[in-house]
Subunit: 213 residues, 2 copies
Amino acid sequence: MKPDTKQRLLDGTLETVRRGGIAGVSARSIAAAAGVNQALIFYHFGSVEELLEAACRQATEARVALYRDRLATVDSFGRLLAAARELHEAERAAGCVTVLAQLLAGAPGQPKLTAAVADALESWAAEIEAVLGRLLDGSPLAEVADVPGLARALSASFIGIELCEGVDPRAATAALDALDRLSVLVEVIDELGPAARLALAARTRKARGAHTP
Amino acid sequence: MKPDTKQRLLDGTLETVRRGGIAGVSARSIAAAAGVNQALIFYHFGSVEELLEAACRQATEARVALYRDRLATVDSFGRLLAAARELHEAERAAGCVTVLAQLLAGAPGQPKLTAAVADALESWAAEIEAVLGRLLDGSPLAEVADVPGLARALSASFIGIELCEGVDPRAATAALDALDRLSVLVEVIDELGPAARLALAARTRKARGAHTP
DNA sequence: GTCTATAGCTGGATAGAC
DNA sequence: GTCTATCCAGCTATAGAC
């Protein structure tokens, strides 16, 4: 047995998706990237779809676990921003979000892959949700922030930005920098205290009433 | 000549991408959706990639023109929000953003398609940028908002959310609702006036200094 | 402009030797 | 577990009749 053929195939899958997108994926291209015989994909995983599924699950689990420790130390928006910068640099090398974005696009019509991608999105969202909930506890922002929804919005946004990176790197960088800059705003509001909180709460109720009378 | 075969192929392309994703695209599937002979794709467009390119350009141009008039009437964040709701409903039917997201994922290795998708992204971003610039002019938010970057971030975010819709509709809805709710915050800040503007400007400079000493 | 037919290729997947 | 060889479906693209 070659030094873990299964793992080489999983790694080769990620590399293939990263380099050629979901459209560049085939049993032959993956086997070539992994330096492994093409027939072994079907011996070890049954089908290309199941290999994609397994690669998605393994990569997500590993990355989420890796970032969980880092995110657990975050206790202010300033530190969250610093962590986000580190993670973004790490992602640039690993390309895990890019792969997820491509699998997301390739999911239609592939039930097992769809399930794996949905679980992966949920893992990321849950992680972000935990940090966000911790940071917003007691902040005036808690009045206008729907934490679970915001976590999903953030996950989806990064996926969109990573996809854009493929066709227009400058636009992607501009988008990330703009979000970066907005964080100043978040910090300021966060420090306003209880009076601002009450004002926002009143405004939120008013806006709600206006939209659903 | 059948009633505009070229247009039927362009429409069939959008429908095929919407229904089966970029992975479901082939000359045969598009021709079937268009109710047209497969060979006509090559007669009229030269290749499948060029058909995708043409469909991307036409759909983007039409949609952007359609929304431009609507967005031109927007002169407050409240109205922007109302417009966004309308546009999102219209998108649910037309699926133009979904198609763009899929083409974005399928672009790697296809130079002409890559160029078309990049142009499409730029068209959307320019449109959003114009509205955002108009709204933020004079607002305290202008101090922390990088308008061109934010426009790109918003475009990319919606693309990410539309992709997620395909595997987890609930998460996509939660994300959109959360962004909706945040708009209350934007309105409040927007009404704070010149004092808040100066405070934000000071904080922005401070934060800048800290990040790039 | 549109159709049929088909060349030529690449894809997923399997059989069977080792 | 791994390899070679191969089947067959589906794909792009073209040739040529109408």
